[in-house]
């Protein structure tokens, strides 16, 4: 009976793909352009490794890994600096995960192809003070399902969704602080998601910022992830910017009623061009 329970759980995990990565981050590098009639795009390579199959906070399949390699194309245009449109389109170069089939055999599943498009309309209120500047942001967003359906394994949600995020950021000559929260609801049976981010940065050089970034994410299936890690921003020129970040799941609790991959690490390297 217990084996059967585990089997069913893992089969369910095979059918229900892990939720996609609802970053509240906005192109370009979250910060630019903060001027009228600005535009830019960035290309970001991301690799995610999850080391275990879990249920709730317990590891039920140690060493059953998941690896996802994606390329993100992201862009932004500002009519007025307080009204902008952004898009984010991931391309899944390769996703691989190990699960168990109905006959207790270890099965390797793959997914690839275009992901879901996210379009946002961030509305910003900037302020300029004697010692610092910053902004408040309210960003309605929609998720457009693209790409082919895959019954076994889908990295992208491939359902329609709508989200709202709220953020605040401020910066002095030396320091940077940003925080934000967002909520996403999806069609069909995809669970709603909430996330909260907290970023602390130090302007180590005129063209360099070191950050510690922390993300928390909850969903309606009782999943919770707390991930944190360092990030490095480097400005090569007015128009070329680079950002490297690494995040580790300090707390990784997946749904309590179905198994899913957890205990992840994520590394992202992006280059952005802004005009």
């Amino acid at each position: 009976m217990q084996h059967l329970f585990i089997q069913k759980t893992l089969i369910l995990a095979g059918l229900l793909a892990p939720l996609s990565f609802l970053q509240a981050d906005q192109p370009i590098m979250n910060m630019m352009p903060r001027w009228d009639s600005g535009y830019g795009f960035q290309v970001r390579a991301e690799h995610i490794h999850r080391s275990d199959l879990k249920q709730g906070s317990r590891t039920v399949g140690s060493g059953f890994t998941e690896d996802i390699s994606q390329i993100h194309l992201e862009g932004v245009y500002t009519w007025d600096r307080s009204i902008r449109m952004t898009f984010k389109l991931p391309y899944i170069a390769d996703a691989r995960r190990e699960v168990l089939d109905a006959n207790n055999n270890k099965v390797v599943q793959h997914d690839s192809g275009i992901g879901d498009l996210t379009v946002a309309l961030p509305l910003k209120h900037y302020f300029n003070l004697a010692a610092r500047s910053g902004s408040w942001t309210l960003a309605p967003q929609i998720r457009v399902p693209l790409g082919k359906q895959n019954e076994d394994y889908e990295v992208a949600n491939r359902v329609w969704g709508t989200g709202l995020s709220f953020g605040y950021e401020t910066e002095t000559y030396n320091w940077f602080f940003a925080t934000g929260a967002s909520i996403w609801v999806f069609e069909k049976e995809e669970p709603a998601e909430w996330s909260y981010t907290l970023d602390l940065g130090w302007n180590a050089r005129d063209n360099m910022q070191l950050l510690i970034e922390t993300d928390m994410k909850w969903d309606d299936d009782n999943a919770f992830t707390l991930s944190t890690g360092p990030a490095l921003y480097w400005r090569w020129s007015d128009h070329v910017h680079t950002r490297i970040e690494w995040k580790h799941d300090v707390v990784s609790k997946v749904s309590t009623h179905e198994a899913d991959h957890g205990n992840g690490d994520r590394i992202s390297i992006g280059i952005g061009f802004v005009f």
Binding site: S133, E171, V250
Partner: protein, 165 residues
């Protein structure tokens, strides 16, 4: 959750932890590594950029004097909020579109001094700078110009901008 053994599921290695202790150790190691990396980064870059107090009016005037001394065809504009050079590149983009900017000087005619929240603008002697257009361009770039500094051959003079607070 019961404990499963390697032999129980057709040779597939299963392990169900009775506690999360191994993962907790991993997480602690990660946190220590993170702290160590942060400290190393901080140490390496400690002297990369001197810490600076809030840009006071006095500091800004001193900064403007250093930039403008002997420069008859440059002005320094106080752009309130310019604390980050990376965010301020819109200033170079918008000011660069104005007539008369001498792009052979400074950095394409524009220098950003985020320490003192100053924008230094070099202009062509044949084309006097349009202060109103400069003010508009700085607004479009996302900052609030309130006054500007100009070298008069002897010292720096402060000029208040129209409509500024």
């Amino acid at each position: 959750m019961p404990e499963y053994h390697a032999s129980s599921l057709h040779g597939i290695r299963w392990q169900s932890y009775l506690s999360d202790s191994p993962k907790q150790y991993t997480n602690m190691k990660f946190l220590y590594t993170l702290i160590a990396l942060t400290l190393c980064s901080a140490t390496l870059t400690l002297n990369a950029r001197p810490q600076h107090p809030v840009a006071s009016e006095e500091n800004r005037l001193t900064g403007a004097q250093e930039h403008l001394k002997g420069q008859a065809y440059q002005i320094a504009v106080y752009a309130r909020g310019l604390v980050c050079s990376s965010c301020g590149i819109g200033l170079r983009i918008h000011l660069g579109k104005l007539d008369g900017i001498d792009k052979t000087k400074l950095d394409k005619g524009i220098l950003l001094d985020s320490k003192n929240q100053l924008v230094i603008i070099a202009y062509d002697p044949k084309t006097p700078i349009d202060i109103a257009a400069t003010q508009t361009a700085i607004h479009k770039a996302g900052y609030e110009p309130t006054h500007y500094y100009k070298w008069n051959g002897d010292k720096v003079i402060i000029h208040k901008l129209e409509g500024s607070e």
